[in-house]
């Protein structure tokens, strides 16, 4: 049910074209990839933090799309799979036949989002100050380390493996020697913000979605943040059959948290399997190696999973995670993809 994908180049803050242009580039790329034309599209979903004052309907108009299904998405790093789930049901129900999913952002300054993602952050975290989500995930990572007896080396193995997957060597020594940002996180643990866009065409095609689901507001923001809800989704898969896992990686601890919830094993063993290439995770380097292109960071894994399925993988697992409403992400979702 996925027929086309595209990902634009990423740009440093202030260097990329406006979000509307990035989304259009990704849309053209994904339609060309699917062998479809804009006139074939009858559904559109758009996720962006930086499109204001435009909305999804403005994107439809600018792209010249006549539609019978439209979704304006706001679920952060969970947007790609949330859009995919809804689009899949729309196609199955006959409400649309070809749905274009777009996710992208262009930033000159990320601090307005880091400080005021929502009213709780604006009112109770920014005045501390908290410096964006890094401090929250530093506290979460400390809990993760204490709960499992982990050391910085365990996270370093994940980060270095992802850099290697992106074609950039990073040694464990370099990782450990990096200056502290917010203890125990260094700059290698904190994804740099980029501009960029991704697109996916949901229509009859080479990739089938075997299973998909989500959980929202699992713990009222009062738990330890080491459960996202992924473990509660009745996904149809066995870890042993997963050839590639594209796991939402805003911080390395979250990669290990999600994989453990999904039944892949305990964190230290997971880090060793990832470092040794025995578990293929974030096969293009993910956000930890390439940066987070805003909301497109949540679609990167879906796009990469389709690339891997085309390249010979039979089963791919993709996750999304996002929207820090106070202390950690309040949305988690996952999909199991396979070749049709």
């Amino acid at each position: 049910m996925i027929a086309g994908i595209a990902e634009t180049p990423y740009f440093r803050l202030g260097e990329g074209p406006p979000a509307l242009e990035l989304l259009a580039d990704a849309a053209r790329g994904a339609l060309a990839d699917a062998g479809l034309a804009p006139r074939d599209v009858d559904g559109l979903a758009v996720a962006s933090f930086s499109l204001a004052p435009d909305r999804a309907i403005d994107v439809a108009w600018r792209l010249g799309l006549r539609l019978r299904w439209l979704s304006d998405e706001a679920t952060g790093g969970a947007s790609a799979l949330n859009m995919l789930q809804h689009a899949l049901r729309a196609v199955e129900a006959g409400d649309a036949k070809v749905v274009l999913l777009l996710a992208g952002d262009s930033f000159t300054d990320f601090s307005p989002i880091a400080e005021s993602l929502n009213s709780a952050m604006r009112d109770h975290l920014t005045p501390i100050p908290h410096g964006g989500p890094n401090a929250l995930f530093a506290l979460l990572t400390q809990r993760h380390m204490a709960a499992h007896g982990l050391a910085r080396e365990d996270y370093g193995r994940v980060v270095c493996a992802q850099h290697a997957a992106a074609g950039r060597e990073l040694s464990l020594e370099e990782y450990l020697a990096a200056p502290m940002v917010v203890d125990p996180l260094t700059r290698y643990d904190c994804v740099p913000i980029r501009s960029g866009a991704c697109a996916v065409v949901v229509a009859e095609g080479e990739v089938r979605i075997r299973s998909i689901g989500a959980r929202f507001n699992l713990d009222q923001q009062e738990g330890d943040g080491l459960r996202t809800g992924l473990g509660e989704i009745p996904l149809d898969f066995r870890p042993a059959e997963v050839d590639v896992a594209e796991i939402y990686d805003d911080y390395p601890a979250m990669v290990l948290v999600q994989l453990e919830e999904l039944g892949f094993g305990a964190p230290r063993e997971l880090a060793e399997r990832i470092a040794g290439g025995r578990l293929r995770v974030n096969t293009a380097g993910g956000q930890l190696a390439n940066g987070q292109a805003g909301i497109a960071g949540g679609m990167h894994g879906l796009v990469e999973a389709v690339r891997q399925l085309r390249g010979g993988a039979r089963t791919a697992l993709v996750t999304g995670y996002g929207m820090i409403v106070y202390r950690h992400g309040a949305i988690a979702n996952a999909a199991v993809l396979e070749r049709s």
């Binding site: 880091a114 009112d123 109770h124 401090a135 506290l139 809990r143 200056p179 917010v182």
Partner: protein, 98 residues
């Protein structure tokens, strides 16, 4: 610091909720609560800046239930019992022993 307490079931909340996550009630009263520090970090760098002095930030489990993110005094450690107040909306540690 002040937290919100559901008049229906006594559950504490911070930040304020609209409906009680436990009983669904919508009536709240205010109550004072101390707490115990669970984790501490030090914010040294942010995008394009360094923090000098670097603020200490912690997770604090309040006696009335909520787990809040707070500004701490330097040297505060996990396990310390502290009192807090809201400073411009930020849960902030008060000096002295709780």
């Amino acid at each position: 610091m002040i937290v919100w307490v559901c008049t229906g079931c006594g559950r504490g909340a911070f930040p304020r909720r609209l409906l009680c996550p436990d009983c669904g009630g919508g009536e709240w009263t205010e109550a004072e609560s101390e707490g115990v520090v669970e984790e501490v970090t030090v914010l040294r760098r942010g995008p394009g800046r360094t923090y000098e002095p670097a603020p200490s930030i912690g997770s604090v489990r309040l006696d009335l239930g909520p787990l809040v993110v707070a500004r701490l005094e330097a040297g505060t450690a996990p396990g310390d019992r502290i009192r807090l107040r809201l400073d411009g909306g930020a849960p902030t540690m008060l000096g002295g022993d709780a």
